[in-house]
């Protein structure tokens, strides 16, 4: 059985329907790419999975838990199991890289002392180990705002790994990066998928990259699923339709 199940999911922002009747089941351990043009609802869908956005209707289930119903501690536990990386990296620029990575441990292993900036030695070693996986150890005491975009995104992945997640949600992770850094970030995501078995759901703009890295592609258009299949099943016709290329 597929662990993550999305049923009749709907999201309305005032009068606009961002997500309409989406039904999906996501396989464990695979990279699932969500494609579609801007405003097609990709980001909204992803943010409903970790409840940064509340759905209007429908449910999301993970194993036996109905994610859309949980609150408080259970919700925070779910969020820590289901890490997210963002288009703008969302690091705290003024804090050093190490602390930024340690933020990932707050949901899993919170202690009152964290509020005074204290983290256990064990978590710090954990964080350094995660940074070294992405060859960022020597940057760990630098202020994260001084890093390049690609480095920041890889710090964000290290932060996500601190959560010891089962799922990684990636919201346009390479949209603000140049091709070389994009490749590096995608390679790193592929690495944690293959080595750690973390399920990845990734919003992508670029079809080329989506086809190269993803095991399965889901095409969204105006909040509805218009394609669901293997990358090689995506024909030129469908991609034209997905990106509205035939408008002009």
């Amino acid at each position: 059985m597929k662990p993550l199940r999305i049923k009749n999911l709907k999201k309305k922002f005032k009068d606009t329907v961002a997500i309409n009747e989406v039904n999906l089941e996501i396989e464990e351990g695979k990279i699932t790419g969500i494609i579609g043009r801007s405003g097609s609802g990709k980001s909204t869908l992803l943010r409903m999975i970790n409840r940064l956005i509340e759905p209007t209707e429908g449910t999301i289930e993970f194993n036996d838990t109905i994610i859309t119903d949980i609150k408080g501690k259970a919700l925070r536990k779910w969020r820590s199991e289901c890490a997210m990386i963002f288009q703008q990296f969302n690091l705290v620029d003024r804090l050093d890289v190490l602390t930024n990575v340690l933020i990932g441990s707050l949901g899993r292993n919170y202690s009152f002392l964290n509020l005074f900036g204290y983290f256990s030695k064990e978590e710090k070693i954990n964080a350094l180990r995660n940074l070294s996986r992405f060859e960022l150890t020597e940057k760990s005491l630098q202020r994260s705002g001084t890093l390049s975009g690609g480095q920041q995104q890889r710090v964000a992945i290290a932060r996500a790994l601190m959560q010891k997640p089962k799922i990684l949600l990636a919201d346009e992770p390479i949209s603000s990066l140049d091709p070389k850094n994009s490749k590096r970030v995608m390679d790193d995501m592929l690495k944690i998928n293959r080595e750690d078995g973390i399920t990845i759901i990734c919003n992508l703009h670029s079809l080329e990259i989506a086809k190269k890295y993803c095991d399965r592609l889901i095409g969204l258009s105006e909040g509805e699923v218009v394609f669901d299949g293997k990358p090689n099943e995506l024909t030129a016709d469908i991609s034209k339709k997905l990106y509205d290329l035939d408008d002009e």
Partner: protein, 289 residues
């Protein structure tokens, strides 16, 4: 085609601007005429009054003599004679300084606590947001001197009344400034902490505070400068410190002591302003690079 659009766009811009300029100037003229009528500016009063200002200033100036300048406090015309009460002044000045310091520290702590409740993006719900904002507005709206009069009446003459008065007013104004700093912060790092399963206090400590802290420190230092000046004035209504002594020597017409105290206050305020200005510049400067 493009030129026609540009021209008509320019024309409409100029028309709008002209309308606003003319209305603003008219309003300003009406305002100035009305207010000068109301406060009754009378040129003869003003002309007669100004020399008296000079009289007072010349009366409070010390009679220093260059030959006796550095003699002891028993010799007329020496600086020591002018400042014979210096130990007392310094003690009172220190009291004024401490009043301002204590009030600033307590009110920054209180303001930090309330600011989270009074910022749109961090407040738990809109009712709390609305209520705390109005309360802060009240405390900011009442000048510290009014609070001081009230607390001198309640607690008696002394610095405690001044400290409470300044604390209340400063909490109101810092609370508003802090919460506005929160509102102007970038919510992306906060989102990230939330998405990693952090609770509300983690979101504030790791997502919000690092962004706003330099601003908050700068506001606190600025408020400290203001409170140093305010705590001097509060002495006038009996709330302790050098102000109380200044009020006394003014009332008893101890002319030379008036200038001695005022000069001390000016020196203190200027040096604290300079020091805290330097600190503020350094904190925001270094943090912004």
């Amino acid at each position: 085609m493009n030129e026609i659009i540009l021209n008509s766009h320019n024309k409409s811009l100029i028309r709008k601007k002209r309308f606003w300029n003319i209305s603003l100037i008219t309003l300003l003229l009406i305002g100035v005429t009305l207010s000068s009528k109301i406060i009754d500016i009378n040129s003869s009063n003003l002309l007669n009054g100004i020399p008296r200002l000079g009289d007072y200033v010349s009366q409070i100036l010390p009679s220093l003599e260059t030959s006796n300048l550095f003699l002891s406090s028993n010799d007329q015309g020496s600086v020591a004679y002018w400042y014979f009460n210096l130990p007392k002044y310094l003690k009172l000045l220190f009291e004024t300084f401490n009043m301002a310091l204590l009030a600033t520290i307590i009110s920054s702590t209180l303001a930090l606590f309330f600011s989270f409740l009074a910022a749109k993006n961090t407040s738990p719900n809109s009712l709390i947001f609305f209520t705390i904002r109005r309360i802060l507005e009240f405390f900011r709206g009442v000048p510290e001197i009014i609070f001081a009069i009230l607390f001198v009446w309640v607690l008696g003459i002394g610095p405690l009344a001044g400290i409470i008065a300044m604390t209340l007013h400063t909490t109101g104004s810092l609370g508003k400034l802090f919460s506005e700093a929160h509102e102007n912060s970038n919510n992306k790092p906060i989102d990230a902490v939330k998405a990693s399963g952090g609770n509300w206090s983690s979101e504030m400590k790791f997502g919000l505070l690092p962004q706003v802290l330099p601003n908050l420190i700068s506001y606190v230092l600025l408020r400290f400068e203001i409170n140093i000046r305010a705590s001097t004035i509060l002495g006038f209504v009996g709330a302790g410190g050098i102000g109380q002594e200044l009020y006394l020597v003014i009332n008893f017409n101890y002319y030379e002591e008036v200038s001695a105290i005022i000069l001390l206050i000016i020196l203190t305020v200027v040096s604290i302003d300079l020091f805290s200005g330097y600190l503020r510049k350094n904190i925001t400067g270094v943090e912004n690079d």
